[in-house]
Symmetry: C2
Subunit: 490 residues, 2 copies
C-alpha cells in the first residue's frame, strides 16, 4: 500500500503520534533504527482498532512505501540522532519531499539542516510537539515552522491530528524554518515557570498554612473551575490526592524526592532571553529552582548552617481564607507576567529573524493539547488579536485590569513568603517584573552614572538631547578619554 506519511523514530512519542495519524484515517509507514519497536507499533495499531499502519525495518523500503511528494516526520533524540536520521533518509528522497523534525530541537540546528538539504531540494520543517505521550496519541499542540509549500503539504494531516479547540485545530503556520522550534522552546520555558509558580503556592499552603494534601487537592480542584482553569492546575489536584502505591501508606507526593530533572529547552529559553535582551525573571527563577533542587546534599547540609525564620512563629499574621484567595490572585497575576515574558522572547527573535510570527496564533494553538493549555490563553489570544503591535501583553487594557485588581493580593503573598522564609523566586520575580515595567523612572540613572564614572560610557539626559560625559572628579580630567571627549555634550 502507498502511505500518506512516514514516521521515523518509535519511542513512545513516535508510536503514539503514528497511531494518532492512523486514527484519523491516514496510512502511516513507521520506521525505527531497531526493528523491535516497529513490530511493537504495528501490533499496537492492530490492538487499537486495526489502524492503517505498516512497518518497515529497512530505510530504503520505508521511503519507497510513501506516496510522492513524500512526507516524513522524524521523532528521534535531538542533536546527532536527527542528523544521522536525516542522512539515512535523504539518500532515498527526491526534490520536493518533506522532512519534518518533531523533536525539541535547538532552532539553530534546524536552520543548519534546512540549508544542508537545500541543494537536494528537500524541504525541512521543524515542528514542536507538545502534550506528552497522551497528547501525541489523542491530539497534541503542533508548532510547525518551515517553507510554506512544505507546510501546505502536511497541513491536511496535522490539522486533523492536532488537538481541537473552540476555534479550530491547535496548529498553524508559524513562520519560516526555525520558528516552530523556537515557539515550542518558549512554550517549554513557560511550562517551567507555571510549574515553579504552582510549587511555590504549594509550599506556602503546606508550610505556612499547614494544609493537608487532601485540603490542597480540593483547593486546586476548586481553582480549576475558575480563571485558573488549566491542565497543570488539574493534574496538581490529582497529584496531591494520589495515595502512595509503593508503600500503600500516605501520599505519593510526600515520598517524591525534591530533585527536579530537566532537559534543554528551559535552559535555551533563558539563554535566548539574554540573547534578545528580554527580561524573563519568572522562567529564570524556575530554572534556578531546578538547579538548586538538584543540589539536595548541599541543601541538607546548608539547612543546618543557614538560619531562616521559624515558620510557625513569624511576626506576620496570616488569615487562612484570605491567604488562599490571595494565593489564587498572585498565581494568576504571576502566570500572566510569565506568559508576557515568553511572548516577548518570541517577538524579539521573530523581529531579529524576520519571521513574522503571529503571537495571537501562538496563544491560540496553546489552548489545547499542550502542557500549558489553560482557559486564560483565550484572553491572551484576544489581547494580541486586538493589537498585534502591543509592546507587552501586560499593557493590554483587559489584561492590565486583571493585574491591577490582583496586585494587593500579590504583594500580601510575597510579604508572607518573605516573612516565613519560604522561597518564592518566581512569584516575587514576576512581581518585580511588573513593578519594574510599570515605572516611568527606574534607578537606572544611577547605574548609568556609575558606568560613566568608572568607564567613560557616557549618558543621555532627561532635559536635552545628546550624549554626555561628566567630569565626576578632578581626576577624571587627567584620564586619557578627555583627549577625545570633553565634559558636557560631545
Amino acid at each position: 500500500m502507498s502511505c500518506d506519511i512516514g514516521l521515523y523514530g518509535l519511542a513512545v512519542m513516535g508510536q503514539n503520534f503514528a497511531l494518532n495519524m492512523a486514527s484519523h484515517g491516514f496510512k502511516v509507514c513507521v520506521g525505527n533504527r531497531s526493528p523491535a519497536k516497529v513490530e511493537l507499533t504495528v501490533n499496537r495499531a492492530k490492538d487499537e482498532g486495526d489502524l492503517p499502519i505498516v512497518g518497515s525495518s529497512d530505510v530504503e523500503n520505508f521511503v519507497q512505501q510513501l506516496s510522492k511528494p513524500r512526507k516524513i516526520i522524524i521523532l528521534v533524540m535531538a542533536g546527532k540522532p536527527v542528523d544521522d536520521t536525516i542522512a539515512k533518509l535523504s539518500q532515498y528522497l527526491e526534490e520536493g519531499d518533506v522532512i519534518v523534525d518533531g523533536g525539541n530541537e535547538w532552532f539553530h540546528n534546524t536552520l543548519r539542516r534546512s540549508k544542508e538539504l537545500e541543494p537536494k531540494g528537500i524541504h525541512f520543517v521543524g515542528m514542536g510537539i507538545s502534550g506528552g505521550e497522551e497528547g501525541a496519541r489523542n491530539g497534541p499542540s503542533l508548532m510547525p515552522g518551515g517553507p510554506k509549500v512544505a507546510y501546505d503539504m502536511i497541513e491536511p494531516i496535522i490539522t486533523k491530528c492536532a488537538a481541537q479547540v473552540n476555534d479550530g485545530p491547535c496548529t498553524a503556520y508559524l513562520g519560516p524554518v526555525g520558528a516552530g522550534n523556537y515557539v515550542k522552546m518558549v512554550h517549554n520555558g513557560i511550562e517551567y515557570g507555571d510549574m515553579q509558580l504552582t510549587g511555590e503556592v504549594y509550599d506556602i499552603m503546606k508550610n505556612v498554612l499547614k494544609m493537608s494534601n487532601d485540603e490542597m487537592a480540593a483547593i486546586f480542584e476548586e481553582w480549576n473551575k475558575t480563571e485558573l482553569e488549566s491542565y497543570l492546575i488539574e493534574i496538581t489536584s490529582k497529584i496531591l490526592a494520589k495515595k502512595d502505591d509503593v508503600t500503600n501508606e500516605g501520599y505519593v507526593v510526600d515520598y517524591i524526592l525534591d530533585k527536579t530533572g530537566m532537559k534543554g529547552t528551559g535552559r535555551w529559553t533563558i539563554q535566548e532571553a539574554a540573547e534578545r535582551s528580554v527580561a524573563a525573571p519568572t522562567m529564570a527563577a524556575s530554572l534556578d529552582a531546578r538547579y538548586i533542587s538538584a543540589r539536595k546534599d548541599e541543601r541538607v547540609k546548608a539547612s543546618t548552617i543557614l538560619k531562616g525564620p521559624e515558620m510557625t512563629s513569624a511576626e506576620i499574621p496570616v488569615h487562612k481564607s484570605q491567604l488562599l484567595d490571595d494565593l489564587k490572585s498572585a498565581l494568576y497575576a504571576a502566570k500572566v507576567c510569565s506568559y508576557a515574558q515568553g511572548l516577548g522572547i518570541i517577538k524579539a527573535c521573530s523581529n531579529d529573524m524576520d519571521w513574522n510570527v503571529n503571537l495571537s496564533e501562538c496563544a491560540r494553538l496553546w489552548k489545547g493539547g499542550c502542557i500549558i493549555r489553560a482557559a486564560f490563553l483565550q484572553k491572551i489570544q484576544d489581547a494580541l488579536a486586538r493589537d498585534a503591535t502591543l509592546p507587552n501583553l501586560i499593557v493590554d487594557p483587559v489584561i492590565a485590569a486583571e493585574l491591577n485588581d490582583r496586585t494587593a493580593a500579590w504583594r500580601r503573598v510575597s510579604v508572607v513568603a518573605i516573612g516565613y522564609g519560604v522561597a518564592t523566586p518566581a512569584l516575587t520575580g514576576s512581581l518585580n517584573y511588573f513593578d519594574s515595567y510599570r515605572r516611568a523612572s527606574l534607578p537606572a540613572n544611577l547605574t548609568q552614572a556609575q558606568r560613566d564614572f568608572f568607564g567613560g560610557h557616557t549618558y543621555e539626559r532627561t532635559d536635552r538631547d545628546g550624549v554626555f560625559h561628566c567630569a565626576w572628579t578632578p581626576a577624571h580630567h587627567s584620564i586619557g578619554n578627555i583627549n577625545e571627549r570633553k565634559a558636557g555634550e560631545v
Copy 2:
C-alpha cells in the same frame, strides 16, 4: 631600542596600559591600525614623564622592535578585530612568542585562537583587565589564563603593573587558556549585580525615605567606612553629591536618563550560568533591569496603565534610621550571595574544563584595581582558602554567621520594597537564593510529580533507592510507556 613588550591597539585602555608598563620601567612598543593614536600615545608618554615608549605604524616594524621571545598585548575590540590583529601580527612572529589578548573576549573564541596558533608554536593568553581607564593607567586587576610557560614570560611585567594590595599584586596564574577570560566575564557579571543592588537601595532611599541627594551621599560615604567599603559604594557617594555641570542647577544624577547600556560580558555570565546549571538570580536580575531600563518609552506608557501602590501611603510602617540600618545589612547580605553565585559559576566551568581555578586567588586579585574591589573580598578569600572544597561560599562558618545576622533586616527591606511597589529584583532575588539554598526540602517534589504525570519522567523517593513511575490515573495505564515501565520500581 629593543622593547620588553609590545602593545597593539591604542584606544584609551591600550594607551593607559602602555603608559602603566612604561611607568614601571619596561620599554614598550605601541602599535595601532590608525597611526594617529600611535603618535598620541608617544606624545602622552613624553608628557607624563618621558616614559620609555616607542611607536610604530607598521606591523612588521612593530614586531621587529620587540626582544625575543616576543610578548605582545593586544587591546582591540573583542570579536573579529582580535582575529584580524592576530592574523596581522602572527605572520611576523616565531615559535615561542606570546600574544596576550587583554579584551573582554568570549572564552570559546580564546580557546579557538589558541588552537589556531598552536601549529606555529605561538602561545596565546586571554587576560581579562579590570579597572576601567583609570585602573589600566595606575594598576588594574589582571586575570590571565594560558600556558604556564607563557604566563611565566609575562609575569615579571604584569605583577609590577597590576594593582598592589596587602598580600601582593592583583594578578595570578588562573589556569589554562580561557580561564582568564572566564574569570573576568564573571567579575563583570558580579559588577552588574553590585550596581543593580546599589541602585535598588538608592531607589528605596529616594522614593520611600524621600532622602535628598546630599543625605544619600552622606550615607554611602558613611557605609564606605564599614564592612561595605568598596569602590562602587565610594563612587556612588561621589556621584550622588555631584552638582550638574551642564545646567549648573541641581545634581547630575537627577538629569541622567534611566536607560542603561551594556556590553557582552554580563549577558554571557547569565548564559554561562544556565549552561553550567548554576543559579545566578542576582546577576540575572541586574541584566533584566538593564533590558527593562532600555524600554523607556514602553515604561512611560505602562506607568499610566499599570497601577502600583501609592508610595507615600503604604500600609507598612517605615522608621527611617531602622530602615537605613536594614538597607545596609540587606545590601551586604545580597552582595555576598551574588558573589557566591559568581564563584559558583567559575567553579562549575573550572570543573567541566579541568582548569583547576583557585577561587581564593580570584577573590584575592579582585581586592584591588578592579571595579568590584571591596574590603569584604578579604573575608571571601579567607573562606575559600580555609576550605577550597566549600560547596558554596555561603556555608563557610564566618560568612554564614554574617548572613544569619542580617536576614531579619534583609526580610524587612524586602517587605517594605514590595509594599511600596519599589522593584528590588536583585535584593529579593538574593534573598530567595538564600531561602532556597538553606532548605533541606524544596517543593521540587511537586514539580517532579508533575513531570512524571505528564511526561513519564520518573522520580526518586525519599524512603528507598530506585527510579519510579506512578500510575497517577487509570488513563496512565493505557499509555504506551507502560509497555516499558511498570508502575513502581523499574
